[in-house]
């Protein structure tokens, strides 16, 4: 008796299915974007996960952004800027036609307030690192503060409603790239203690915003529905609704894209999927270089390590054929990395090729060291298929020159902890270069991201000097020189710059892949050639 009932139910379910795909009610054109994880916050200052950082920029407009290919700064809320005072004084002019969604203009006060939030001792976000060069920032952070982001900060002067003067403690040329942050509306946030901001309701439901979209609906772990803002200063976006849809499994994402149930798939991870996408004429595929490289770092903090001998490190640098990695593992979707300067950056040196593949020379160099047996431990984060393959391939190549490497994949948190603790010889990881070529964060001996313990006085000096050099040409030359010295020391084996791949429905127009922002110029995107529901 039960059987027919169940069969009927299944049948009913299947029948329902047939009628669902066209039951949409949205008015204007819509775009369904795939995401691997749900955003945690919409407050850009407190975004620590990629999804939050991506989505927050739909709701909050940055001061400036960068051209996707040349990385030249492009004003957004900033109309223009001047750099004076020997590279110490930045005068920022805000647009007068940009408004918060409640009708109040975006002012210099908002920017100053946001800078103070970032420099407040209770702020544990990413922005402080970029703004710490402002005169008085360190004092502001260390002083005995009120819980609010108020009071004075030496280097900040609000000249008038739309002009802000920022004075740095010392000249620091990369500072302009630090201005890509979106200001928060001071009139909404100024009564909120900084420690409570990330948990505040406005971080989940941005009631007052400046970006091209507003939050319409959010279903936990399912999707974020953003709707075009009527008040956006660059005009109402062409796409009415954006559904930022969470699908944690990349394969399911691909299936949904191919089935037409998704429109844009950013962060495509498997190069093997490329042919499938390229042969589909309903899809368009976009690629861009990324501002990040993968490399194998050597732990130089470890005492009495065989890696203290530079020749061992150089030998390992020559052991691996990076072109082969790019061709066979990335299937050409990337570029060989010779050093920390990205092909996108102005400082990039196309003539600098670093180490070539030369196992013979590597063996010879290794023999010179007189080391009998070189045994090393390589750690990396598990779950990243490409890195797993790279790790295995590298250990094979190392074995060919007589270095035995044990490969240890680790769960992410355990990996990070081991990385900080220094209990490893080699580590396979990715470093972000940032927009500005300054690589002090990772490779200056005092850089907070210098986890490997690399230290070279001359490299330090060059990086510091570059920071103070105002002529663009000279500054880039200094980075190139620093890169040369750095690579000679072989603190790691630079492997490749992966490309970012985006697949979108052919109906999506004006999409431009950007190495840093998914929703770059989203207000210009349009959906054409597809019936609107």
């Amino acid at each position: 008796m039960k059987k027919p009932v169940i069969l009927l139910m299944v049948l009913a379910l299947l029948l329902w299915t047939g009628c669902t795909s066209k039951g949409r009610t949205a008015k204007g054109p819509s775009l369904r974007v795939a995401a691997l994880a749900a955003p945690v916050t919409f407050n850009p200052l407190f975004a620590r996960d990629p999804a939050s950082a991506e989505v927050a920029l739909l709701f909050f407009e940055p001061l400036l952004t960068f051209h996707p290919e040349t990385l030249e700064p492009e004003g957004r809320l900033l109309k223009s800027w001047e750099i004076g005072g020997g590279g110490r004084e930045y005068t920022l002019h805000l647009r007068r036609d940009a408004f918060w969604s409640d009708g109040t203009p975006v002012t210099a006060e908002d920017v100053a307030f946001t800078v103070k939030v970032a420099c407040h001792p209770d702020y544990a976000g990413w922005l402080y690192y970029y703004l710490k060069h402002i005169d008085g920032a360190a004092d502001y952070r260390e002083g005995d503060r009120s819980c609010l982001a108020e009071g004075e900060m030496g280097g900040l002067t609000v000249e008038d409603g739309f002009t802000l003067k920022v004075r740095l403690a010392e000249p620091f040329a990369p500072f302009l790239a630090s201005l890509a942050f979106p200001p928060l509306p001071a009139h909404v946030w100024q009564e909120v203690p900084v420690a409570e901001m990330e948990g505040h309701i406005f971080s989940r439901q941005p009631a007052v915003f400046s970006g091209p979209y507003r939050l319409h609906e959010r279903r936990p772990d399912a999707f974020v529905h953003a709707r075009a803002s009527e008040t956006y200063y660059l005009g109402k976006p062409g796409i009415e609704d954006i559904y930022y849809t969470v699908i944690p499994n990349p394969e399911t994402q691909l299936v949904e894209l191919l089935a037409g149930r998704l429109d844009l798939l950013p962060h495509l991870n498997k190069p093997e999927d490329m042919p499938l996408l390229l042969e589909n004429d309903k899809l368009a595929v976009y690629t861009t270089d990324r501002l990040a490289y993968d490399f194998i770092g050597f732990n130089l903090k470890k005492v009495a390590s065989q890696l203290s001998d530079r020749r061992v490190r150089q030998a390992l640098s020559m052991a691996v054929d990076r072109r082969e990695l790019v061709e066979k593992l990335l299937l050409g979707m990337g570029k060989v990395a010779a050093g920390p300067l990205s092909p996108l950056q102005r400082a990039f040196d196309a003539d600098f090729t670093g180490y070539g593949y030369d196992p013979e020379a590597a063996r010879k160099l290794l023999a010179e060291t007189g080391l009998r047996k070189v045994e090393l431990k390589l750690i990396f984060n598990a779950g990243n298929l490409l890195r797993e393959n790279v790790a295995v391939l590298f250990s094979q190549k190392a074995a060919a020159i007589g270095v035995s490497i044990s490969v240890v994949p680790m769960e992410w948190e355990a990996f990070v902890e081991t990385l900080y603790r220094g209990d490893f010889d080699l580590v396979l990881l990715g470093f972000g270069t940032g927009v500005d070529p300054d690589f002090s964060y990772h490779w200056h001996s005092g850089g907070p991201g210098n986890l490997l313990g690399y230290s070279n006085r001359e490299v330090n000096r060059l990086l510091e000097e570059a920071g103070k050099t105002l002529t663009e040409q000279e500054r880039m030359a200094l980075y190139r020189e620093a890169q040369k010295l750095l690579v000679e020391d072989a603190p790691g084996v630079w492997l490749y710059y992966r490309q970012a791949v985006y697949a979108a429905t052919a109906a999506l127009r004006n999409f431009r892949p950007h190495p840093d922002f998914l929703f770059y110029q989203v207000h210009q995107w349009e959906m054409r050639g597809r019936a609107t529901w």
Binding site: D122, V255, G430, L451
Partner: protein, 322 residues
Amino acid sequence: MVRLVAGRLAQTLLVLAGVTVVTFFMMHYAPGQPLQNNPELRLDPTAVERWLALRGLDKPVPAQYAAWLGRLLCGDMGVSLVYNRPVPELLRERIPATLLLTVTAFVFSFGLAVFLGTKAAARPGSLLDTVINAVSLGGVSLPGFWLCMLAVMVFSHRLNLLPGAGMATPGSGGMADVAAHLVLPVSVLSLSGFAHYVRYVRVTVMEVMSQDYVRTARAKGLRKNAILRRHVLPNAALPLVTVAALSLPFLFTGAAMVEYVFAWPGMGRFIITSTLARDYPVIMAANLLVAVLVALANLAADLVYMLLDPRLRVEHRYAGRR
């Protein structure tokens, strides 16, 4: 009876306390911390320390446990360290989605298992029996992940019949839409559930059928269906109730694998992401929820036993007097 129940309750509370201690300490001694510590985020180490201190995470673990327990006893499950919202709020948002998935699958798989398992047991060795055996063996041994991917591959990709991701089409919704999204995950979950349950049902029913009273019933000329319904099933119900009761807690924790592949916004995925993010209050709440439900389900199964089987009641009465 009252003493027995009280005794079981006390035992349950002890087990629960034990579970919280073990989970809490294991979780805190595992590497990692709740504030994303990725060096690429360029967070200021002093600010990170301050962040942890503001949330009491710099104190010794036993002190943290005491604080957590104290708050729990006042009914406060804490605030998520990732979402900055009260934990019950987060659970409430996700439990309905999970229940929709798991209860539907449970009803399908258990109902089908009872129905087909009884049939198979009534005629061991028949074609139906062989097919069911094969299906259940397959269902138990095939990896869940593979089954999920296969379902997506065939029904969402090749045939393009059913959506492979999410609980509803964003921006549309509606009952029919949700039902369509339910089909694949429920089918996969049901298959493995069915495979699991049908073996119990078959064995239990076969055992009961070999009893003397069944032979008597048959001898007095009762029809096969009447025997099954009146004599076999009521007697076979007992072990089946246990199996069903013990599955109940997991209806709330969802099916992480299925939720991951089909992008179902439920508890399973939430528990996994929270664990990976070291969101201590959420991990504790989820574990406690499971522990409480398991304990309650066991207790309930015991009580139902006593209601269903008078023999147990008598035995316990004697046991109580001794």
